[in-house]
């Protein structure tokens, strides 16, 4: 007798989710299945209860310039695709404007162009180390406009890896320290590398928050993140593996996170970090978090030891 293939569906159980790290594809990205990929994200998102995908397009994803070093032409091409998707899916999609800081004037112009059309954040890849002065004008503009920066990260960069000039928690912490009025979202804590190093690197840098996405689903990672930075600095997200996003959502439920704090991770923190009006569908919720300037840092958090959470660990 075969093993049961699917457990009972829990569809609709988590109907108030904001995925702060999503990507969509387009026809010039070199994949014939680009539309199927986008459909699959919507299909899975609807099933999981994702109300809003906050997404970016990474140039041509390597088709005409490298994914992590997109040319200005491909940056604009990708942002145009993202703008078009926002127009086509105004209820389900918001956008980050992707820029390459090596082309400063173009990057700043792209931020202005796309913010004027509704972009709610800035996406930085691995085109230049995060603590490089070239990022300063972008961070200044982000702070001025109240746009959070989602920055690609490698958790503990022990050396340079091919195809990217990756940054880790220490690099992002240096950028954040120079720009205390900007909010930096450190991308995918489960996206590769040593996440424990990241916790130590950013614990005392309140304007760095963490998205929980990535294919990595190490047991202990969520507990340790919670213990190191607290729920007010954690943002739920999927990136390119939505099953790990759903798994982390389930795990958060069993590691001892109180329901009201889980709501912060699922959507409340995003409401606080992104510009006012970015998520009108969440406005007025009974559990909407009190407005607080993220530049003043999150609510006070008392680190908890991992062992304190042992009984409930996922």
């Amino acid at each position: 007798m075969a093993d049961a293939g699917a457990p009972p569906s829990r569809e609709g159980e988590a109907s108030r989710l904001i995925d702060v790290h999503a990507h969509f594809w387009h026809r010039d990205a070199g994949r014939s299945d680009w539309a199927a990929l986008n459909d699959a994200r919507f299909r899975a998102g609807d099933r999981m209860g994702i109300a809003v995908h906050v997404a970016s397009v990474l140039g041509s994803y390597g088709f005409t310039s490298p994914t992590y070093f997109p040319s200005p032409r491909d940056v604009a091409l990708g942002n145009d695709a993202m703008l078009a998707l926002c127009d086509a899916e105004p209820e389900r999609v918001r956008m980050y404007v992707t820029v390459n800081p090596n082309h400063t004037a173009h990057a700043l112009a792209e931020v202005e162009r796309c913010a004027a059309r509704g972009a709610i954040g800035i996406k930085l890849l691995a085109s230049r180390r995060a603590d490089d002065p070239l990022l300063d004008p972008i961070a200044d503009l982000a702070a001025e406009r109240g746009l959070p920066i989602l920055h690609h990260a490698w958790q503990h960069r022990r050396h340079d890896w091919p195809s990217q000039e990756a940054s880790d928690g220490l690099d992002l912490a240096r950028l954040a320290a120079r720009h205390p009025a900007a909010t930096i979202i450190l991308a995918h804590i489960g996206g590769g590398g040593d996440w424990a190093h990241t916790h130590a690197a950013i614990a005392d840098v309140p304007n760095v928050v963490v998205d929980l996405s990535g294919s990595g689903v190490d047991r202990g990672m969520l507990d340790a993140t919670l213990g190191a930075i607290g729920p007010e600095r954690m943002l739920w997200a999927c990136d390119v593996t939505m099953e790990t996003g759903l798994a982390k959502l389930r795990a958060l439920e069993v590691i001892g996170l109180e329901p009201e704090r889980l709501e912060l991770v699922k959507w409340g923190n995003a409401m606080r970090i992104f510009p006012d009006g970015a998520f009108p569908e969440f406005a007025g919720s009974a559990t909407e978090p009190a407005p607080r300037n993220p530049r003043q840092g999150p609510a006070a958090h008392t680190p908890q030891s991992v062992t304190a959470r042992r009984r409930n660990s996922a």
Partner: protein
Amino acid sequence: MIDVNTLVGPYPFRYTPHPDPQILAGVLEREGTREAWVGHLPSAFWRDPSPGNTELYTMLLPFAGLFRPVPAVRPDWPRWEHALDAAVTAGAPAVRLYPQQWTLGPGDQRLAAITEACGDRGLVVMLTVRFEDLRQRGPLDVAGDLPAATVRHLARVNGRTRIIVTAAGRDMIEEVHWGLTPDEQSRLYWDISWIWGPPEDHLAKLYRSIGAGRFVFGTQWPLRLVQTPRANLELLPDDLAGMPLANPDDIARDAMDATRR
């Protein structure tokens, strides 16, 4: 649902919360999993896994009916045949081989010999592609991922040994599957613990190309979140939802039946 890919005991390269059988028992109950095949995690990294097997059998004794032991047996260690016999006596459905940790490369005849001997005894062979993502491994963790060539080699050893490969991704699964004859394919299974879901939909693509019946449920607890493979199944496209996976009990029974043919 049976979880074929669980382990107990600490991991040498990072802290892993409470990798204890009593915690695993609670996790199975919480997740609605009726049984687990359980290995001994430190044994993969010890020169001699024998003490780990003894510890495994002892640790699992109070959980008869819930856990089945899967000891590690090293084919380049003297008297490994006795360890296989002990596994049979202990009611093990399978044994774990770690070619990478033991530096036994593709084509190594000692691996072939133990695969043959497992077939003789009705034991399933379990292989592990990885314990951690390559990007996060510590500098002393130099074993590397299990090569597809090793799996192809062992799948061709004989006509009866069943093999379950854990922690493989789509690329490796396809490389091995399409490098085997249909008969060889029929004795090889893959756990779903490391296969990507949407939007890439690797699991769905594999269901469509090689069939859901080639896969078994596995989590790689305590290293990975136990919720992941279940989430993956829940996010399959509608036309694939609920398709049955292979039942590990059937695989073990087939392995035993093959000894009588």
